[in-house]
């Protein structure tokens, strides 16, 4: 079915995966559910625009990133950021007791990363995207994929292992 727009069912099949990514990116289940609903709405309304069905998930991610970027500004106007503690609790409770504190630390640290670093870490580690796919989905050159990924990993490591110390000098 090359060139055919995705069906509603094909878009729907992506919801669980998209929702998982959205929650991890946004740091809040209710906000992510709102966001995913907006993405679905936008995708269904403009699915004729997608010419290459094999890029369905990448296309949904692009819509999600755009909507989140604009919605994020709205939310900042509205007031304080959503608490990540609810998500940290929810995820810690779904994990083995020995891993709980690591999961909490991770969720808190992820929330403190700049958005572009959080995106690339999640797309790589959670979504398993290759460098090429990262470059395509984030619309950045390969060189930037690698430097951003390296910087994000190092920053997360410093936060997880050493609190607020200086981020490495080796990545300038």
């Amino acid at each position: 079915m090359d060139g055919a727009a995705p069906t509603a069912g094909e878009i729907a099949a992506m919801v669980p995966r998209l929702r998982r990514y959205a929650v991890a990116l946004v740091g809040s289940i209710p906000d992510a559910d709102d966001l995913v609903q907006d993405v679905m709405e936008r995708a269904l309304a403009s699915r004729e625009a997608l010419r290459d069905p094999s890029r369905l998930y990448a296309w949904l991610l692009a819509i999600l990133h755009n909507l989140h970027a604009s919605g994020h500004r709205r939310r900042r106007r509205r007031g304080p950021e959503v608490p990540v503690e609810d998500l940290a609790d929810a995820l810690a409770l779904s994990t083995a007791p020995t891993d709980r504190s690591a999961v909490r630390d991770l969720v808190r640290a992820m929330a403190r990363l700049p958005e572009d670093q959080r995106r690339i870490l999640l797309l790589s580690a959670l979504e398993g995207l290759s460098y090429r796919d990262l470059s395509e989905v984030l619309e950045i050159p390969m060189g930037t994929v690698m430097s951003r990924l390296a910087r994000a990993r190092e920053r997360l490591r410093v936060m997880m292992e050493g609190g607020e110390q200086q981020v490495v000098r080796r990545i300038r």
Binding site: A24, Q37, L91, S147, R153
Partner: protein, 260 residues
């Protein structure tokens, strides 16, 4: 972004760059450079340790957020203004029948009530879990098939049901492993199988005490087809993006494995 973003020079230590270390860890390094990077790591244990730490963080990210695939939403979608926007209503319906079907959302105060019998709900959970985990490259399963005894004991204990991993090898599908999932009603198990062409089938099951025994039924969610049935307190589903004939053959084998 500035030009310095691409500057990965490792200082005085030689030609291996920071970007190459990451590419090596991610399996993205051109084969010609592997030996150089491995030599560098052997001579720089602090870099090897740092990469180890990145890898553990990546594993932690994958594991920590995995439960979101089946975690129930804490409340219904909050905006009641859908009715006059057809695309929004359709989007809401999709959420209900996919995420919602899997996790038990309901629309508050009217709207299309998702009244679903509990076996059908299990089939939707199975399809949702299949869409999420069968596409995983790095972490398709939580416990791999080479630890089959451990896997089976662990899942049996958590489900409170004695399991054996059904053999689908005659159909060309080998067991990859399995994982434990949690839904509102309690624990669920997923076993994953793969054939030579990388096609994957998942077997999903959980206790569903209120149901009575059923024949095989079929549910479709997007591309994923799930064949499901209830037998003595447990609802089973086998899900895949494959033709129904193959699913039926697989279902008969799974059914036979538990009723022999």
């Amino acid at each position: 972004m500035t030009a310095s973003d691409n500057d990965f020079d490792d200082g005085s230590d030689g030609p291996v760059t920071e970007a190459e270390l990451h590419a090596w860890m991610d399996g993205e390094l051109p084969p010609g450079r592997r030996a150089a990077v491995e030599r560098h790591l052997a001579g720089h244990p602090e870099d090897a340790a740092r990469l180890g730490s990145y890898r553990r963080a990546a594993d932690l990210i994958a594991d920590a957020y995995a439960p979101l695939a089946t975690m129930p939403a804490p409340e219904a979608p909050r905006r009641p203004k859908w009715s006059w926007r057809p695309a929004a209503a359709a989007a809401a319906a999709l959420l209900l029948f996919v995420a919602g079907g899997a996790t038990g959302w309901a629309v508050r105060g009217g709207g299309p009530a998702a009244v679903v019998d509990s076996n059908t709900q299990v089939a939707r959970e199975a399809a949702a879990a299949h869409s999420v985990f069968a596409t995983e490259v790095r972490h398709p399963v939580e416990v791999a098939a080479d630890q089959e005894t451990h896997l089976v004991t662990w899942l049996s204990r958590r489900l409170g049901e004695k399991l054996t991993a059904p053999q689908l090898a005659p159909l060309g599908f080998e067991l990859m492993g399995g994982r434990l999932l949690s839904v509102e009603q309690g624990p669920a198990a997923q076993l994953m199988y793969q054939d030579r062409n990388g096609r994957r089938l998942t077997v999903y099951l959980r206790r569903c005490p209120v149901s009575s025994d059923t024949a095989f039924r079929i549910a479709e969610v997007g591309r994923v087809t799930a064949l499901y049935w209830h037998e003595r307190g447990v609802t089973w589903a086998i899900a895949g993006d494959v033709d129904r004939g193959l699913l039926q053959d697989a279902a008969h084998r799974v059914y036979a494995a538990f009723n022999s």
